[in-house]
Symmetry: C2
């Protein structure tokens, strides 16, 4: 498996998951910041290797083998993210770029031992679940903060947007995974929220609330 192939597989999983829904070459090209014609070329190569089903003019979906491959890469990516934050004091907005490189390192022992060093973490620094060695992968029970009714309480368990800008905003406002958030009030006009977190009161925009995952209490 080449690095490029791995990146395509990961992107296809990101866009379509394990479903058989066909993902267009255009969508993949957009996500990977490349051209549709390049995607077509790669789609054929991946189909030859039985990692994807490719239907001309329709798109691609991952085969069982492709899903397995994708989960292995995601497992590596997220374990490395945990390592960077827990052991090397990276902030959660710094990890992605380096993990993108580390995820391609080939060594089963390396990943198994890293998993052990980190105490077999279940979630990465953004709250996303880490697939097990065998590819088990349970999406956490969660919902967007914006979907909670007034007076409801939830524990912050993840972020949808993982951009540096958003993550740094959260750091600046001391909003971190594990914190309990209570919705004090909703503003109909702009859908902004008044929340309580960590004993503080905060006014947050709808854009923030639609990118924060919470687990209802």
């Amino acid at each position: 498996m080449t690095r490029a192939e791995e990146n395509y597989i990961k992107t296809i999983f990101h866009l379509g998951g394990a479903t058989s829904q066909l993902i267009s070459t255009n969508a993949i090209a957009e996500e990977m910041e490349t051209k549709p014609s390049s995607v077509t070329d790669m789609a054929k190569r991946l189909a030859d290797k039985e990692l994807v089903n490719y239907v001309k003019y329709q798109g691609v979906s991952l085969t069982v083998k492709g899903v397995k491959t994708a989960l292995a890469i995601i497992r590596k990516h997220r374990l490395w993210e945990v390592f960077l934050v827990k052991k090397l004091d990276f902030t959660w907005d710094e990890v992605h770029e380096v993990a993108e490189q580390l995820e391609h390192i080939k060594s089963e022992k390396l990943i198994d031992q890293l998993d052990a060093l980190l105490d077999f973490p279940k979630y990465d620094p953004h709250g996303d679940p880490i697939p097990s060695k065998t590819g088990e992968f349970k999406e956490r029970d969660k919902q967007l903060l914006s979907e909670l009714p007034v007076h409801a309480k939830g524990v912050c368990v993840g972020v949808k947007d993982t951009s540096s800008a958003f993550l740094r905003f959260l750091d600046k406002n001391k909003i971190a995974l594990g914190h309990t958030i209570t919705i004090l009030d909703k503003e109909d006009f702009d859908d902004s929220l008044r929340i309580q977190i960590d004993g503080r009161e905060l006014q947050i925009s709808n854009q923030i609330a639609t990118n924060l995952y919470v687990k209802k209490e």
Copy 2:
């Protein structure tokens, strides 16, 4: 810098160090298990980037910039080796292959933090010195065990051959870095040695003795 370029720079340093001695394309090809014609191509590319001096039909040597690059890669390689052994329980014969991959990861913060996590180690698991961030690099004062006279004492500080076969031999015979070795006797016929190590007596061949570095006491 591409991965291939980095590997060439590393090999040239390995064969010629920081000297201006020209290394033949043949020697490089042999070391890298590739063809001399491929080395010629790369030599031109590296010369374009001012990483090597290339003299047609004579060979290449590293420029100052090339040496700096080589030391940065070696620093990364050796720090990762320490990490694998100290944190992930790799044995010293398992680290090379994985470190070959990890040494190409690009992130200054990653290496700085890794260095700190490992407590700023001075030597890698094979006893080779780790260049500092600024490229400082002092070869340890050492000599081959085979060069020691009878009754001399030395501390084991490194290995010349880093093959799995040799390293596993050392493990099996409980010869490790830091152990004190005393030469009890030399056999003229085959240059084998009778040594004392860790309270035990051991007969070792000349081939072993010419691949073990000690620091005379």
